[in-house]
Point group: C2
Chain length 503, copies 2
């Protein structure tokens, strides 16, 4: 049986509108409630994963009241109901998944999502002439998102609430007939009756496109209120009790990397020309010029519609901080934010690793500068084994997908690696130790990282090979001469923004 008809079969069962009598339901509900609470507290204590429950389905079948009931059966203090309407003006300025990322629950807790990321896909499928490539794109985005978070501590349970056309009609009419309940029928519920067949087909296709082992769909028969609630409770209980699924094992690294050519050429960092220098006079002139160009650019009318993300990675003491300051000196404090990334906080460890970066994305006309970034996953977390091999091997693709979502939504993303040679790093470490107001910048950790220079170089080279895309290329800039680095970086940023605004 193909996947589409598997979904249709599940619909058929729900469309028989099964029911359960009050007396039969009572003992089931009693046991279910105790079991749910017990499982909820076990999950809270273990805190190894969060539970994200997507509530979707035919409009007008009582999903809202079922959710209210779940909040009553379980301990509502550890559940957050996340209900989304059409995107607000603020939300529309960000990539479509942004608002869902912001509110991901912490490990141990649960979130119930209404108005989920399935909205646009379903609307496209149920329209008169669904655009095939849009459908593909949305489905891929959803699958990638769910795989990423499911592999990183978020357990996803997707519930589709379903019933027969007749049952829907009966339910709607019953509610409408009584002025005390007519308010429960929304305009979209009435539309369902008219286009039930189309809704059903769209739902079947959507489920087929987005069903997966890590994030499976379940169909909840919804004609009978009690059975709807019991089925929901049982699905949640099963999810809470299920052992953590093994995360997908990504291919080994050698399979990911491009094949070595017959004549092996040097890897990226070995190809950096560290001989470039700028004299102090040249630097002063160029700095003033580029700073002024940048300053005018970001104050232009056109820039108000452009969100910009700058990423800085590089060796310790390469000069990331001071380069960033030369950029911000040209900006208005109201339009930029520098986000220095170091070890994650408790809140951040309780969510997928990309969560803390999603939170800092800029609105149009604003610039977020990451001082270190999500690339930590494939650099420090790889070398220091903070992340398991499967995790960092999976990260290259996750990062590429993430960056694609950013650029798809209009963000101008520019990635810089500031490179210095080992001897220059040693000199700068020594300078820091002897400076009364730089000595806070040199720690035992820095010296330990230096001992792993080779491992870090290798990790960076793999990173360039695997995340240097045409949409979001890496700019590797020699920073042995700080003046050269600052001018090169400013120049790249200015020309990139000018090119974008000229489109």
């Amino acid at each position: 049986m193909n996947a589409r008809s598997a979904a249709t079969t599940r619909f058929e069962e729900a469309e028989r509108d099964p029911q359960i009598g009050k007396d039969a339901a009572k003992p089931i509900i009693t046991d279910l409630r105790s079991a749910l609470l017990k499982a909820q507290y076990a999950r809270l204590a273990k805190a190894d994963r969060s539970l994200l429950i997507v509530v979707a389905g035919i409009d007008g079948v009582g999903k809202g009241s079922t959710v209210n009931l779940i909040n009553e059966w379980m301990d509502a203090r550890h559940i957050r109901t996340l209900a989304y309407g059409p995107p607000t003006q603020e939300e529309s300025r960000y990539p479509f998944l942004w608002r869902y990322w912001r509110h991901l629950p912490a490990k141990g807790r649960s979130g119930i999502v209404f108005g989920s990321w399935y909205g646009p896909l379903f609307n496209e499928l149920v329209s008169k002439k669904p655009n095939r490539s849009k459908v593909e794109q949305l489905a891929t985005t959803i699958r990638d998102f769910e795989a990423l978070v499911a592999n990183d501590g978020v357990q996803i349970l997707k519930l589709w609430y379903h019933l027969s056309r007749e049952a829907h009609k009966k339910l709607t009419n019953r509610l409408l007939a009584d002025p005390e309940t007519s308010w429960m029928v929304r305009p979209e519920d009435l539309q369902v009756a008219r286009k039930f067949k189309r809704v059903r087909e769209a739902a079947g296709t959507m489920i087929m496109l987005t069903d997966s082992d890590l994030a499976p769909w379940q169909v909840i028969p919804s004609a009978d209120e009690r059975l709807r609630a019991i089925s929901t409770g049982q699905a949640i209980l099963a999810a809470l009790q299920a052992p953590a699924a093994a995360a997908a094992e990504p291919p080994p690294l050698r399979q990911l990397l491009p094949a070595s050519p017959a004549q092996p050429r040097k890897r990226r960092l070995a190809r950096v020309d560290h001989s470039v220098r700028l004299s102090e006079n040249e630097y002063d002139d160029l700095l003033a010029q580029w700073r002024s160009r940048l300053a005018h650019l970001v104050r232009s009318k056109a820039f108000a519609d452009l969100p910009v993300v700058l990423v800085f990675e590089g060796n310790d003491a390469a000069g990331k901080g001071s380069t960033i300051r030369r950029i911000t000196h040209a900006l208005d404090a109201r339009q930029y934010r520098v986000v220095p990334i170091s070890a994650p906080t408790e809140d951040e460890r309780a969510r997928p690793y990309l969560w803390r970066f999603w939170r800092e994305l800029p609105a149009p006309g604003n610039i977020t500068i990451f001082d270190r970034s999500w690339y930590g996953r494939v650099l420090v977390e790889r070398v220091e084994r903070f992340a398991r091999p499967a995790q960092w091997r999976r990260a290259y693709e996750e990062i590429n997908q993430f960056e694609q979502q950013l650029t798809d939504s209009g963000i101008l993303l520019i990635k810089f690696w500031l490179a210095i040679t080992k001897d220059v790093q040693l000199q700068r470490f020594r300078d820091r130790e002897h400076s009364p107001f730089k000595s806070f910048k040199i720690t035992p950790e820095d010296w330990r990282n230096r001992e792993k220079w080779g491992a870090y170089t290798n990790a960076a080279n793999d990173m360039f090979d695997l995340t240097d895309t045409s949409r979001s290329p890496w700019h590797v800039v020699s920073s042995n001469d700080k003046r050269h680095a600052r001018i090169t970086v400013l120049e790249r940023i200015v020309t990139a923004i000018e090119a974008r605004l000229a489109r």
Copy 2:
């Protein structure tokens, strides 16, 4: 010397445009930078207060570049620059201080505020015909805010950047003359020259109105770049090194409470009529009616402009949760949020106690329901001594001011106390212990609180006496009969909303 001329005197010193030569500055800066870093790390380690630096002053004197320099001299990882422009559309839907409350830094860290809460007051003072009552209102709001946060772990340093009219003109012209720096001059900077006298007077008045021991103003001479930076650094250093100021000692409780009349009447909780009952039939009818009225109301067009805050307090087991559910059953999941309040998290303890409530305020058309609230300060924190007497005695007025800001901004605030008698509480505690799915709701803490019934009753009665205002009265509802409580609460909410929408 009166306060106004004290400010003018400070301006006179700054308007002499003092300078410092490069050679003289160098050793000062070197020492200052080391001392600043040392003091910053000491503050971070001790984490007893945060430091909030308000950067205000004449436009166009280089406040932005001074702030950049501070970020360079200190460890920028523990400083957040909070720059605000004119209120965004989202921000305008909330009370004016909301956006500042949201970003208060945690204890140990620092925040630099640009575009602070002084904006509206200064703009009013500098306008052609300042509205006196508006000026008074804004100044009072600012003083109350600063006193509140300064008494609760936020050290405020207010810097006014000042120089003579001639120096300002010279600076502006110099920047304008060079196309590489002309971008630094903003339209508002040019306006300063024209109305320097008015700006100076407005500033003097503003400083006089808002200067206080807990949150003093300092005037920073700004004509000379180096001296501006040194003065800023020295002001910050002094603030970081200053011992924590003793918080204001509020009047003793008996002074706050209304004088006892000759014939003492019973206190509020003793006057509750617990004999009210509703039969099951009455209840079912009334519930359906009020639920329907509420449901229609919140879906009406007019409601989309109204933000609503509901507060529920009361004895343990009074029925807060189940009453709240009867309300939310009528609402759309997208328009409400229930916020259950219990012991503060680490993030919350690092900020003033009201911070976590400011974060949950609703936008227009939305409802936030607090299950327990800021009143915890004068209830559990008073009885269990989690707050010092000075802190909870101060809280009555702080709470009244807070609620006034909410209602001033258009929020409909309704406060409920659900009251039960001691014997009914005992019965419900016992029921919970024996229910397989309610037993999580009864803990040893509940039994311990019960032993302090008298103290809690007394604290609640004081609370009613001191925070029952005509704008925001308390509704004390007997909840011995849960059905009666639910109907009464629904009825109050519906009639309050209807009355507001009818205006």
